[in-house]
């Protein structure tokens, strides 16, 4: 596997910043480049459920935040000054009038291809795909998916699926081709489009679906998080409900790579992070997916698992993390890496702590605590 020098994420000149989207608002954590002294700032949107906040790597000033409150419908806020001020989208993601479908919340935001500077994608719950071509001001449904004749067969009804609603997530734009897209759904699986979303096809062969009567389904899977390998978009990694998988295109079949995880820990988890330069290196954060799915760290002992060989083997990294009685976990958008060398690794917990490593996971320390339930951590 060739290694590239190209960073996967922007490197700001003077600082490292993280966007912390939480159940009660948006915070930021900022440090100098040594990543030794972190400063917490916020909240913005206090009281809003912020499912995702993402900075645009194409201009280093635009940010979008997907928010709703318990009372009010979902919306998207947009900043053109790196998060200092925000303005609400004029037309947030919403299903077509007459479709009978209603967006409960926008769950995922992905900046478009570098050749399409105003384009963003959004994934919603219930599962829908939306696109903005004006930097997040107005959003339209991607009809090729939302109105695809097989969409209901692929996804089931809007009431089917996971707690808090089935979600469309992990929207990936091939850096070589803006028309080549992948999406994943917690109730449906992974799908691919090669025509900018006009048509889609399932891409789930080889992924187990133990919860289905037929474990070899064409669709109906539950991917939790899917990422491109760094600098190598023909490889995708997937943390799934039923394991950890890898695919090397143009092969259409996923290969299981989670079966080498320790049996006592298992292969269930939500987040997955790739190294910013090394396509063979990735991290997962296992959780207890046994019995009734407690969704806690296995045994109350949190740990990150890193592979440096494309998932053939895994090493536990927990130095600095609590050794016992820590029953939090990490959601699918709440773990990320920075582009420094060595790479920084960060995650936010369901109990409102942010942990960080500036040595690729060898040691961790707590960067912030007492925040609300953390939904997403992204470089900012």
């Amino acid at each position: 596997m060739p290694r590239t020098k190209k960073p996967a994420r922007p490197v700001t000149a003077k600082r490292v910043r993280l966007l912390l989207a939480t159940r009660k608002g948006l915070w930021t954590l900022t440090s100098d480049l040594a990543r030794s002294a972190w400063k917490l700032a916020g909240p913005q949107f206090l009281g809003h459920v912020v499912h995702h906040a993402v900075a645009d790597p194409r201009d280093a000033r635009t940010m979008l935040a997907a928010a709703r409150t318990g009372h009010l419908g979902p919306t998207v806020f947009r900043s053109l000054d790196a998060g200092k001020t925000w303005k609400e989208a004029a037309k947030p993601p919403g299903f077509a009038e007459g479709s009978g479908r209603v967006v409960d919340h926008t769950f995922w935001l992905t900046p478009g291809h570098p050749s399409e500077p105003g384009t963003w994608y959004a994934g919603t719950s219930p599962q829908g795909l939306f696109r903005s071509v004006d930097g997040g001001t107005t959003w339209e449904g991607v009809a090729g998916f939302n109105q695809h004749p097989k969409r209901k067969a692929w996804c089931g009804g809007d009431q089917d699926g996971t707690p808090d609603g089935a979600k469309l997530h992990s929207i990936l734009v091939d850096p070589r081709d803006p028309k080549h897209l992948y999406i994943s759904m917690s109730s449906g699986g992974t799908f691919e489009s090669t025509d900018a979303g006009a048509d889609w096809r399932p891409l789930n062969a080889g992924v187990r679906a133990d919860f289905q009567p037929d474990p070899n389904l064409e669709f109906g899977h539950d991917p939790h998080c899917v990422r491109f390998a760094a600098g190598h978009p023909d490889r995708l990694y997937q943390q799934n409900h039923c394991g950890i998988f890898r695919i090397d295109r143009p092969n259409d079949r996923w290969q299981e790579i989670g079966d080498t995880m320790p049996k006592s820990v298992g292969y269930v988890g939500f987040p997955m992070v790739v190294h910013p330069r090394d396509p063979e290196t990735l991290w997962v954060f296992p959780m207890d997916g046994t019995s009734v799915w407690p969704r806690t760290s296995p045994g109350g002992r949190p740990g990150v698992y890193r592979s440096r060989d494309g998932g053939r083997s895994w090493k536990r990294q927990d130095q600095g993390l609590p050794k016992a009685q820590a029953w939090w976990t990490v959601k699918r958008q709440a773990m990320t890496a920075d582009a420094r060398d060595p790479a920084g690794l960060y995650f936010g917990t369901t109990s409102g702590e942010v942990w960080g490593s500036r040595d690729e996971g060898r040691t961790f320390r707590c960067l912030a605590r007492h925040l609300p339930h953390i939904y997403a951590v992204e470089p900012g």
Binding site: E88, G94, E97
Partner: protein
């Protein structure tokens, strides 16, 4: 038209009570709740979608009153001099 606004929506209006002008198409056609919400959205862009979903239905935690009367029908006419009150029902933690 006098409209009382709950705290979750005062980020739009800046006030607990606002007055909006609702166009009257004909004397025999009084303004409706839908017309009031459209007028609110004209003055405070984005506000309507937080209360009304894309299928034109009032969102579950929003209640709309015309004086003392609750309505979920946006076609409900609003008598001259009435006050519209928007309530955001508290729930959860």
């Amino acid at each position: 038209m006098r409209v009382r606004v709950p705290t979750p929506l005062q980020s739009y209006t800046g006030e607990a009570e606002v007055f909006v002008a609702v166009p009257v198409l004909a004397p025999e056609l009084p303004p409706t709740m839908g017309g009031v919400l459209a007028a609110l959205d004209g003055s405070y862009p984005g506000m309507r979608f937080r209360m009304i979903d894309e299928q034109g239905r009032v969102r579950p935690h929003i209640k709309l009153f015309i004086d003392q009367a609750l309505t979920r029908d946006l076609r409900t006419p609003i008598p001259s001099g009435a006050t519209v009150m928007i309530v955001a029902a508290l729930s959860g933690g």
